[in-house]
Amino acid sequence: MSQGTVAGEGFPAAALTVDRRRARRRAAWRRRGLVLLFMSPWLVGFGVFFGYPLVMSAYLSFNHYDLLAPPRWVGWANYHYLFHEDPQVWTAVKNTIWLILVLVPLQVLFAFGLAVMLTRARMGVGVFRTVFYLPALAPPVAATLGFVYILNPVTGPVNVILGHLGIQGPLWFQDPHWSKPSLVGLGLWGVGTVMVIFLAAVLDVPKQLYESAELDGAGGWARMRWVTLPTISPVLLFAVILGVIQGLQYFTQAYVAAGVAAGQASQAADVTSVSLGYPLDSTLFYPVLLYEHGFTDFQMGYASAMAMLLLGVSFCVTLVIIVNSRKWVHYGGAAK
């Protein structure tokens, strides 16, 4: 840093080298102390709220632990049960994969389409952008409640309108075949954040690229395919991986929708473990199952084993991000 050199120029003679060296060493230590001081909140937080739990999670996954009796070592039993015996794990994994494979591509396509149309609009760009972004702001619990009401099979506005058009609407959140598509609808409604990111990326594409493509005789479609898409591809990749990560922790919407829909059906309206995954485990996603094992059954050891599997999968996805990050970091720096 510049501090050291500025201070060093003040010494008059070579005889003072020992003192100077000592002073320099002291300055180096002070700098190290400064870095440590500035980093200390994160260092403590990372150790206590991330590093320690990670190690503990690995340890607990080899134990039977119910919070009351001390942990009892069971070896690989939790993992054996996880991979071979748990009747619900495969359902939860399948549901999670389904959600990621359907929701993420649709979100990216939808957000990209909206962003491109917005860049071409001549009037009301600000209004449209706000309208598309607003649902993304709605608190997930509130948005989910609204959707469950709107998609109520009998009295919900959507099926009422479909009824006027002579169409028998589906049972949405009450039907195991329609519950996940209903959640996809909810996810597409909240696509605004991705859209804003894409919009910024599309607007950042250098104008000269379009102009030279135009000179080469490229039409609208060709410019999209050979200029826009390649230029913003790092952002697309970023959105896909972010979507996968969010898909891996999908909880709130599934939990609330299942609880409210189950309550609606039984009229008793109580969110309990019975309602998790309603209807017929069709909304039982991996994090929901983890919650059920860990925090309604208090099988902390088994839930830790589930967490370790989730850790492995998310770590691989994260690795892909980090490896590819150089691309989109570079692009971001070049644009501004």
């Binding site: 840093m1 510049s2 001081l37 980093m39 909140p41 994160w42 403590v44 937080g45 990372f46 709220f49 991330f50 739990p53 990670l54 503990m56 999670s57 607990l60 632990y65 149309m117 917005l118 449209f128 706000t130 309208v131 598309f132 607003l134 702001l137 608190p139 997930p140 619990v141 509130a142 948005a143 409640l145 609204g146 959707f147 009401y149 709107i150 009998v154 506005p157 804003v196 910024a200 135009e214 005789g217 039409g219 970023f238 891996l248 922790q249 609330v256 609606q264 309206a269 969110v271 919650y291 860990g294 902390m300 967490a307 370790m308 989730l310 770590f315 994260t318 991000i321 692009y331 720096g333």
Partner: protein
């Protein structure tokens, strides 16, 4: 859209006015584009409209196939407060939001500064660790964290059932905020900081005066996102306070609202609207900071 035709007819440097046929096609494409945008906009607004209309219905109307409230029941918004401990939930949410947001800003700014403007060995490797921590789902660490708080009783105080296990981690640097602030600090020219150093300013003073003043928009964005995140947070408050309704935040209260009040959809939608309102108001007050923050973290990543 129509450029192929335009360039084919205009090889010379001076651009001619495009022929009428081309202009008509351009106009039609623009009309089609705007129609699709308007249709999409209506689709995005409809859920809000339906929620609002239902919030103004009587209970019987909400359970019928009627779409337009008749008569309008403005009382619903008052009833929400009398029928449910809404004020308690608001108070708990504010407690969580304010304490967490202050903690996030105060603890993340120096860390981000150390990552962006101080040079030290291993800095980039440690930053990758921050990014990894940011990407991993919270479910990975919740079980041991819950056990930790359950077994931790200083002076006989029981953390489970309170919001403290959700608030306190925010005082020790939040990965997302560190990331956002670092990205912004990197754009501050070193010359400013060097000038302050030449004037005899220590790093701590540079941070508290020069940097915080220059980084106001980024700090505002961090505070906004933190407010939004805590206001919307559901999973962690549910874990720790699910059994203790006195400490519920709005999101939990709302999710349990219908079970407290037996299928009253009109009141539930009124409550839903009330929970959405603050976020939307904050958005309109701070729209610029929002969009800046999203693009700063999304693209400038």
């Amino acid at each position: 859209m129509t450029s192929a035709a335009a360039t084919a007819t205009a090889p010379e440097l001076v651009r001619r006015k495009p022929p009428r046929q081309v202009r008509r096609r351009r106009f039609l494409v623009a009309v089609a584009n705007h129609s699709i945008l308007i249709a999409a906009g209506i689709m995005f607004l409809l859920p809000f409209i339906f929620i609002t209309l239902t919030a103004l219905m009587s209970n019987d109307q909400a359970l019928s196939a009627r779409l337009w409230p008749h008569p309008f029941e403005w009382r619903n918004f008052v009833d929400v407060f009398t029928k449910a401990p809404f004020f308690t939930w608001i108070g708990n949410t504010l407690e969580y939001s304010i304490l967490a947001t202050i903690g996030v800003v105060v603890s993340s700014v120096p860390v981000a500064y150390a990552f962006a403007k101080l040079r030290w060995r291993g800095r980039d490797a440690v930053f990758i660790v921050v990014l990894v921590a940011l990407m991993l789902p919270p479910q990975v660490t919740v079980v041991p964290l819950y056990v930790m708080w359950a077994k931790f009783h200083p002076f006989g105080f029981n953390f489970i059932g309170t919001l403290w296990p959700v608030i306190i981690p925010n005082w020790f640097g939040d990965a997302f905020s560190i990331f956002l602030l670092r990205q912004f600090f990197l754009t501050i020219p070193d010359e400013y900081l060097d000038a302050a150093r030449v004037d005899g300013c220590g790093e701590v003073r540079i941070l508290t005066t020069v940097v915080t003043r220059l980084a106001k928009p980024a700090i505002a964005a961090v505070a906004l996102f933190s407010f939004l995140y805590t206001f919307n947070d559901f999973f962690l408050p549910l874990l720790y306070t699910g059994e203790n309704s006195g400490h519920w935040v709005l999101s939990i209260g709302l999710s349990e609202f219908r079970s407290l009040h037996q299928v009253q959809w009109n009141l539930t939608m009124a409550a839903t609207l009330l929970v959405m309102a603050p976020v939307i108001v904050v958005f309109f007050l701070a729209q610029k900071a929002f969009v800046e923050g999203v693009t700063l973290t999304g693209v400038k990543g």
